[in-house]
Symmetry: C2
Subunit: 227 residues, 2 copies
């Protein structure tokens, strides 16, 4: 599904160079459940933004379904992002003046789903993250963990073939975290691909493979032995 | 230091009532290190905002140093907030177009500290959270955990007599979390008061007392036995 070779992301700040990613080689197959760990600033969110087609690398190759992403046109990319990929951002990125329900409906608007079906599916997904009674609240009227769950619901609502989740349980107590992780397991069992950034080993344990980053490179890549 | 009686915070949404805090009774002495835990939405951030004088209760009494906070004038409150209290917000609340260094200097500006001393103390505090090499970056040029550490540095820079930290390690890997917690322990050993919201038991273990909230009320209040 995903093939990265010598991937780099370099920021130039005055006369200094910040190497957010410094040569990443990585293959991820369809249907895998991968956890990405590593210290603060090691490049995890940068990697996620590149895989999610929200950013472009400075150099290197990124193949998605054997197609070089840098040669795709904007329509193909937009289509990918809106129909194939669900993204839970580290900073949620909810629309501030919009209710939780409308925030969750947004990917279905892009997918051209009818209004009635959109409402029904968004309500159902909010129920799955235990926020049915907060549907009309705007983000500023929600707790930190509630906002995080709205971001998770928005990423799940269109049953994405690839879910990218950047620290989706950072603001959640352990019970609520388990609820979210069982939703992800369910999605994975449906054959979908999940890439999840976390620094909690208990959360990484749900994945079948753990990749550790350090200073913008892959430091280790461990697959769980089956059974 | 802090005395709360029958404290309530109620939001009216249409014909519904949301009881964010529903009758909190609590005493916290000067120099205590208190952890506040509880499920997502149980009222932790609401309680922190009230204690930090950033919000006002719907009803009930809040005494700070034996003075009723609701009867203080705006000057007294501003003085408290800027000189006595350091606050690490769950959503960081950094100034977006301002460098990390200038964000950390801000409390010292309010405290009337000279420019040279401000710069020196802000640099020193950024060093203590291992971000000396990110001083000139704006928040959008920092990772999630780096932004969180800038928020921690800003809260610590004026050596506050009361530190309020709302999930200060939610975006940090375990090693970086330990670095932050040892800074807090240091502050506590200097005689300062710390109130910390977390849902990680390992982090709560640094405190000498753990209060659990449920549905806007205190569910349990446990002091560690000394020694
Ligand atoms: N402005 C508001 N209007 C309506 N309801 C609100 C508002 N702000 C907060 N709430 C509600 O008050 C309750 C408590 O919120 P609070 O932010 O204190 O929770 P919390 O314990 O900090 O949760 P978390 O662990 O998720 O951060 C939540 O159910 C939330 O939906
Ligand atoms: N726009 C930018 N300009 C300059 N440097 C940047 C920019 N964005 C990110 N960086 C730097 O790139 C590095 C990697 O950032 P990234 O957000 O990928 O880290 P991360 O592994 O997600 O960290 P965390 O666990 O703290 O979220 C960091 O050192 C950060 O300071
Ligand atoms: Mg990150
Ligand atoms: Mg909160």
């Amino acid at each position: 599904l995903i093939s990265l070779r010598a991937l780099r992301k370099i920021y130039i700040m005055g006369d200094q160079e910040v190497r957010a990613l410094d040569g990443v080689d990585l293959d991820i197959q369809k249907g895998e459940f991968v956890a990405i760990m590593g210290p603060s600033g090691s490049g995890k969110s940068t990697l996620m933004n590149l895989i999610g087609c929200l950013d472009t690398p400075t150099s290197g190759s990124f193949l998605l379904n054997n197609q070089e992403v840098s040669s795709m046109d904007e329509n193909e990319l937009a289509d990918l992002r809106n129909r194939e990929i669900g993204f839970v951002f580290q900073t949620f990125n909810l629309l501030p003046r919009t209710s939780a329900l409308q925030n969750v409906e947004l990917p279905l608007v892009y997918a051209g789903v009818s209004r009635q079906e959109r409402r029904h599916r968004a309500e159902e997904t909010l129920e799955r993250v235990q926020l049915a009674d907060r549907a009309t609240h705007a983000p500023s009227e929600l707790s930190g963990g509630q906002r995080q769950r709205v971001a998770v619901a928005r990423a799940l609502v269109n049953n994405p073939s690839m879910l990218l989740a950047d620290e989706p349980t950072g603001n959640l107590d352990s019970k609520t975290s388990l609820d979210i992780m069982s939703l992800f397991s369910e999605l994975h069992q449906g054959g979908n691909t999940i890439i999840l950034v976390t620094h909690e080993p208990d959360i990484a344990a749900y994945a079948t493979r753990t990749i550790k980053l350090l200073d913008g490179r892959v430091q280790s890549d461990v697959r769980k032995s089956p059974g």
